[in-house]
């Protein structure tokens, strides 16, 4: 098993994995949209049982997490969202879902300053519910009526990422200590700054907006804008 960041070349196989396991499916462009907007947040699990003969051999993807940042958070708090997560039935009980999720969550905190992560799950999907609740420690926030195309309700679930902020903080401290003993003072100084997101956390709720600015570059465009964008021949420009 190999757990690596989602690469565009994985997409056809992630797509296969998704449509094999789940009723919510997407065309390739939607995966590209994730991979090109928040490349740090999506991960795949690759089965290595077929020894790769050439680099062109397709990877056998047996699990993935497709994740994003909420582009316009209603509550103003930057947070991540799990668009889709699944593991092939043949590869269950290996803890893959959790391993994938942890990689994604860590990047949500480190790169995008996410405070929590949310997701939706079908109310009938007992297995998934158990995974999110028991294994991954998500909490049900509310039920969203008729969330799915077929009219089924969804549990809206949430997990606070405070525990990752703590871990990141500890790691940074360790790194800094380490660096002082081995690297030049200039680099040591440079590393002081690496604790920046942690610094924000330390000041609690005071600066959510500033953290949020971190995720906003350019216009926050969703995939629909992406799809429908058309040029216009302005007579004067």
């Amino acid at each position: 098993m190999d757990i690596v960041m989602l690469h565009p070349s994985h997409i056809p196989h992630v797509q296969t994995c998704n449509i094999t396991n789940l009723p919510e499916n997407y065309f390739a462009k939607y995966y590209l949209y994730h991979a090109l907007t928040w490349p740090q947040l999506s991960y795949v699990a690759i089965d290595l049982s077929k020894s790769q003969n050439s680099p062109h051999d397709p990877p056998k993807i047996v699990g993935y997490v497709l994740a994003k940042m909420e582009e316009e958070p209603v509550d103003g708090i930057p947070h991540g969202h799990i668009t889709s997560l699944s593991v092939m039935r043949t590869h269950r009980r290996l803890g893959l879902a959790e391993k994938l999720m942890r990689q994604s969550q860590k990047a949500m905190v480190e790169t995008f300053g996410a405070k929590y992560v949310s997701l939706h799950v079908r109310v009938s999907n007992k297995a998934a519910l158990r995974l999110y609740k028991d294994t991954l420690q998500f909490e049900v926030e509310k039920v969203e009526s008729k969330y799915y195309a077929d009219g089924e309700d969804a549990y809206s679930m949430k997990q606070d990422l405070g525990f990752i902020w703590d871990a990141v903080k500890k790691e940074d401290e360790l790194l800094r200590k380490d660096d002082k003993s081995t690297t030049t003072p200039a680099e040591g100084e440079g590393n002081e700054d690496e604790g920046d997101p942690v610094g924000d956390e330390g000041q609690e709720d005071k600066k959510p907006k500033e953290v949020m600015r971190k995720v906003k570059i350019g216009r926050a465009l969703g995939v629909s804008d992406l799809v429908e964008k058309v040029e216009s021949p302005k007579a004067s420009s």
């Binding site: 098993m1 190999d2 757990i3 690596v4 690469h7 565009p8 070349s9 056809p12 797509q15 449509i19 094999t20 396991n21 009723p23 499916n25 997407y26 065309f27 390739a28 462009k29 590209l32 991979a35 090109l36 928040w38 490349p39 740090q40 699990a45 089965d47 049982s49 077929k50 020894s51 062109h56 039935r89 590869h91 269950r92 009980r93 290996l94 990689q103 480190e110 009938s124 999907n125 440079g190 590393n191 002081e192 700054d193 690496e194 500033e210 600015r213 971190k214 995720v215 570059i217 350019g218 465009l221 992406l226 799809v227 964008k229 040029e231 216009s232 021949p233 302005k234 007579a235 420009s237």
Partner: protein, 847 residues
């Protein structure tokens, strides 16, 4: 430059409205306003152009082009007219023409950023790097304060392979900054990492490392920094730093293999020490699979046994169904797979004796006791072991899985195990029972799409296409285009391909082509998908990911999904080239059964049969159309369904130029997958038929260098030499090139001897026997002396192939097709094949 035809102020304001309506997609209103202008100024070019553009948005492309051309006639020097002309071509995906039109537009309005941007997008989509650099340079010059413009120019240089200029451009922008951007500036964070990525690509890792250290505090993509730092240090021989780097990375993700190999390299460990590292890491990361599993790859003999035992203990006690999958890669090594078998058997023996495990592992399945679960999945392992293609002892595999099934009261386990049982049956060739068992698995948990998917797949393998789509339909969105429509829209390539291959088996060539073309369409869509990202990614700033995407797109058509559909489609077109009657209704059914008859019919009877077939085909098409209409009625209120005027693919199959159609598939195959053997051999066939002998030879030589001993290559060598022997009229140039390059047949012996020599040097291979048999026939035919004895000789060879140790079930099925082609004793062949593959029902002749 002002328009050649100024409008009065009222009309000028109306014209502005037209533009506004277009931009806001209010096409009807836009058209109305345009008509109003045209009433007074019927020859106003720019208004006509806008009218054309609006009409195109309503789907009337032909009319749109007409109007746009008329517009240009009225106002040749208007950039609006040219821009619209370009937009129309763009909407038709004729990018070359669109680029030309945009360039004309720019000539008349050199300062238009809009046109320049549109042009640039097309240039990068077409990979016109020089054009793109030029457009991007103009954009920087006109708006140097915008960072995106600089990054865009750097991308242009980078993709064109000019790394130093790419770096240079990024540096130039950085130098314009009065003070460094804050850490919260994600665009900056990504731009500096992008610069580092470019420096690394120049191969100057010291410079890349220095730069990385300088930006490490500003960039927020921590994984990227850690990975790059470890990699640069490793490449520079800074082993200590590299080791530290990889250890930090492993702490983050102990399941990434690259980190382990990096760590090993930085430590330069061998032998005993190598194992020690992994033992330490396994202790450090007790939940990680990799540090326990990797030593199985490099340990041998007793050392292997000891690590394998530990690994198996850990995995089997957890009763995970995937233990075998994790170890399968080792099965190429006989000693290792035998060792694994005996270890698992030992484990099984102990487990059988043991009382239920106290304080058992945490298991998800409630009803079976933990110990029971362990036992079940140990048996499951052994069943998979014996079903492995290198071992393939179906009897043993079945006995293990059946014992496991008896022990498993729980539905979850039952489903899992039935899945395994179905797989064994499929491998044994009992596709019908395999399908039934997979359906049993599905019944255990109907809410699980995985079971549902596999069940549909097995239905297709058993050529039950109707059932398959119905089953898929339990999970697809059926409100718009029905289950198949949803699968097409969701680009479910595996299903479309399997469906097509099933139709090939059934001789339904039209439907088969229809499916393969759907795969082609998906690849076209995946190519088009990148278009919007050329601008989107600049806005988002995630440049490294964008570059990876562009590079992936560049090799997209080498994808195995495409290759598989392409090889299928080319074979069908070759078949249709030889036997066009197969395109017609019932003559296309029944795996060529009717077709064989058809060829022996008299001309008059052929005509009759053809008429009948066409009548039947019409009936089928009508029924299909009615069914579609009915389905549409049932979906009242749903979205409008797109009309498919060829639901059965009859028009595709009835093409009058099958070889040209084959080329559409062949070209990308040869261009993007030159090392793909089947592509080259298919190319040989197509080009021989097209009488492009040099191209055919090129494919043959390429195929030979990929796999000199391949049976198909052998056969093609003989066919090419026979062709040369027939003294074809070739131009002197062609002849001399062939003389120089084609040296694959021996000068000393005859082709027949060459053929027999190949047989004796490949005595174990069934496929080699087939190839020699076919070649014997071709040689005999060329001599014009197709005596009975030679016919029988070839047939005997095919029969003998059935008994070869290495023969697979697939070989046997291919052999059957060959016997049919030779008009040999099909009944006896099937009987003999069944003696070896007793459970198989793939030899049955389907109605």
């Amino acid at each position: 430059m002002p328009s050649q035809q100024p409008l009065a102020s009222k009309e000028a304001s109306l014209f502005r409205n037209v533009l506004k309506f277009y931009e806001t997609k209010q096409y009807k209103k836009g058209l109305k306003a345009a008509e109003q202008i045209l009433k007074k100024n019927p020859k106003h070019g720019e208004t006509l152009a806008m009218k054309g553009l609006l009409i195109n948005c309503q789907g009337k492309t032909e009319e749109a082009f007409q109007i746009a051309k008329e517009a240009l006639k009225q106002d040749m020097k208007s950039h609006v007219c040219w821009h619209v002309y370009g937009l129309l071509y763009r909407s038709q995906k004729n990018f070359d023409e669109a680029i030309k039109a945009y360039k004309m537009a720019l000539r008349f309005e050199p300062d238009s950023q809009q046109i320049l941007r549109d042009l640039a997008l097309l240039q990068i989509q077409m990979r016109d790097y020089n054009g793109y650099i030029e457009s991007r340079r103009l954009m920087v010059m006109s708006k140097p304060q915008i960072r995106q413009n600089w990054t865009g120019l750097a991308i242009a240089y980078h993709l064109a392979g000019n790394l130093s200029e790419a770096e240079n451009v990024l540096t130039k922008y950085e130098e314009t900054l009065k003070q460094p951007p804050p850490k919260t500036d994600l665009e900056n964070s990504e731009a500096i990492l992008y610069k580092n990525y470019i420096i690394a690509e120049t191969g100057d890792h010291q410079k890349a490392l220095d730069h990385l250290e300088a930006i490490a505090r500003t960039a927020v993509d921590k994984v990227a920094i850690l990975e790059a730092r470890a990699e640069y240090n490793l490449k520079l021989g800074n082993n200590e730093a590299a080791e530290k780097g990889y250890r930090v990375l492993l702490e983050r993700n102990p399941e990434k293999r690259l980190y382990y190999s990096g760590l090993e390299k930085s430590l330069g460990v061998e032998g005993e020490d190598r194992l020690k590292i992994y033992e330490e890491l396994a202790e450090q990361y007790p939940r990680a699979d990799a540090p326990k599993r990797i030593p199985l790859d490099f340990q041998e003999g007793d050392a292997f046994k000891s690590v394998a035992q530990k690994y198996l203990d850990w995995r089997l006690k957890r009763a995970a169904p995937s233990t075998f999958t994790s170890l399968k890669a080792l099965y190429g090594d006989v000693a290792k797979r035998e060792c694994l078998e005996s270890l698992v058997e030992e484990f099984l023996a102990t487990t059988r004796e043991e009382k239920p495990v106290e304080n058992g592992e945490k298991l998800t399945n409630g009803s079976s006791t933990p110990n029971n679960s362990v036992l079940i999945y140990t048996l499951y392992y052994l069943s998979q072991h014996h079903d492995h293609w290198r071992i393939r002892n179906t009897e043993k595999a079945l006995s293990y899985i059946n014992e496991a099934l008896e022990l498993a009261p729980d539905n979850a386990d039952q489903g899992e195990l039935r899945l395994g049982l179905a797989r064994i049956l499929k491998h044994a060739g009992d596709v019908r029972k395999a399908m039934e068992e997979m359906d049993n698995a599905r019944q255990k948990d109907k809410s699980d799409r995985y079971y549902n998917t596999k069940c549909s797949k097995y239905m297709l393998r058993n050529d039950c296409n109707e059932e398959a789509i119905k089953t898929m339909g339990l999970f697809t969105r059926n409100d718009v285009n029905g289950p198949l429509g949803d699968l097409l829209e969701m680009q479910c390539v595996w299903y479309i391909t399997e469906d097509g291959e099933s139709y090939v088996r059934q001789g339904k060539l039209g439907l088969a082509l229809k499916r393969f073309h759907a795969v082609y369409k998906i690849f076209e869509d995946w190519t088009d998908d990148q278009f919007d990202f050329h601008s989107f990614s600049l806005r988002k700033g995630m440049i490294r990911a964008y570059i990876e995407m562009v590079r992936w797109e560049d090799s997209l058509w080498s994808h195995p999904f495409f290759r598989r559909a392409a090889v299928n489609a080319i074979k069908l077109y070759l078949l249709l080239n030889d036997k066009p009657h197969l395109a017609h209704g019932s003559l296309a059914n029944g795996t060529g059964e009717d077709a064989v008859d058809f060829e022996s019919l008299s001309t008059a009877d052929r005509k009759k049969a053809m008429k009948k077939a066409k009548r039947e085909a019409q009936k089928q098409e009508k029924a299909a159309a009615e069914a579609a209409a009915k389905a549409k009625d049932e979906r009242k209120g749903g979205e409008e369904k797109k009309q498919d005027d060829d639901p059965l693919g009859a028009k595709l199959a009835q093409t009058t130029e099958p070889l040209e159609k084959a080329l559409v598939w062949l070209k990308p195959l040869l261009e993007f997958s030159p090392a793909f053997l089947e592509g080259q051999t298919a190319g040989f066939d197509v080009y021989m038929k097209r009488r492009k002998y040099l191209l055919a030879l090129k494919c043959l030589l390429a195929a030979h260098s990929i796999a000199p001993e391949d049976p198909v290559v052998h056969e093609q060598i003989i066919r090419f030499q026979l062709f040369l022997n027939s003294k074809p009229e070739l131009s002197p140039t062609v002849q001399s090139i062939i003389d120089e390059t084609f040296t694959l047949t021996p000068k000393e012996s005859t082709l027949a001897q060459f053929n027999e020599a190949y047989l004796s040097s490949h005595a174990d291979s069934a496929r080699a026997s087939f190839s020699v048999a076919k070649s014997r026939q071709v040689l005999a035919a060329a001599e014009g002396s197709k005596s009975d004895s030679e016919g029988t000789d070839s047939e005997t060879l095919v029969f003998e192939a059935l008994k070869k140790e290495g023969a697979t079930l697939k070989d046997a099925v291919d052999g059957l097709a060959l016997v049919k082609e030779m008009k040999g004793d099909v009944g006896r062949y099937v009987e003999e094949a069944r003696q070896r593959w007793s459970m198989s029902n793939v030899f049955e002749v389907k109605a």
